[in-house]
Symmetry: C2
Subunit: 142 residues, 2 copies
DNA sequence: CTTGTATGGTGCGATATCGTATTATATATG
DNA sequence: CATATATAATACGATATCGCACCATACAAG
């Protein structure tokens, strides 16, 4: 039963990936995309570790993803003002522009999805998913 | 909003991955796991392409995953009896045993999840997820 | 101040993923 | 039958992911 659940999750994730990654620069993944969106809503910036925890990927993966985003000019990295070990990652104007354009580019895709399923059907799933995410998250550290 | 949806999906997938992959041979991923389960319910076997479509991964990825499963002795590959270009993939006894043991090993993990969330809360999400999966799937080929 | 420990980040290496091009077989068409 | 086109699988190469080991800085204890 959980088996079914995780299978569905896996396939939907895969399908979403395929749709998004086909439309954008080849080395930008859905997680990169998510990171950019996350940062846009946090103008003060986040540390790499914040981001790794938020997206549940290992620190090293985040290091690499940030490097890619910097190469594209979508984020900038500065030393952390209060902690010499750390850094702060922020979106650039180019990064914000990229997200906006991407949203527009994906709109038709999402449009048909809404037409066929209904926005409220998706909306209805969100609380349940969030709850599961939070619970699984809490189960991690003990 | 879809953005939220796909973010949740992404993180839950990530968390599920982490839990499962930490418990099993290092080169077995959640998708390998899913493929084995899928094959167990189809004793006549499936072609690599069937599997790739079912799990929404590129053919090349499936080729590689099958190779890994063969190396572990969890599946066997035979020529397709009716199509010389194709093959048939089936689980071995070892593969079935591995799945059973894995299910047992994961039971406590799932147990706490059930305790905290409730099985019916997960169950309630399944139809919605399946519906989205099917719709996105149908949107692919046109 | 010195030492020990915790914490943030990264280099490196192994491997999974996936796009492109290639090979083999099947099927359709003249 | 010959040729063209479609389809199944794979080899190869590029790159993303992630575990491990390491370095730098912070913080705590003596």
């Amino acid at each position: 039963m959980f088996y079914r659940f995780f299978t569905e999750i896996g396939i939907i994730h895969q399908l979403g990936r395929a749709v998004i990654e086909a439309r954008f620069p080849s080395d930008i993944t859905t997680t990169h995309f998510g990171v950019l969106g996350h940062l846009m809503r946090r103008p003060d910036g986040q540390t790499p570790l914040d981001l790794a925890t938020a997206f549940q990927v290992p620190k090293t993966t985040m290091t690499h993803m940030i490097k890619v985003l910097v190469r594209h000019g979508y984020v900038e990295v500065t030393p952390h003002p209060e902690d010499g070990r750390s850094k702060l990652v922020r979106t650039t104007e180019a990064g914000k522009a990229f997200i906006s354009e991407s949203m527009v580019a994906m709109a038709p895709e999402f449009g048909t999805l809404v037409d066929r399923i209904g926005a409220d059907a998706v909306e209805a799933l969100l609380p349940g998913l969030a709850r599961i995410r939070e619970t699984m998250d809490a189960m991690r550290d003990p």
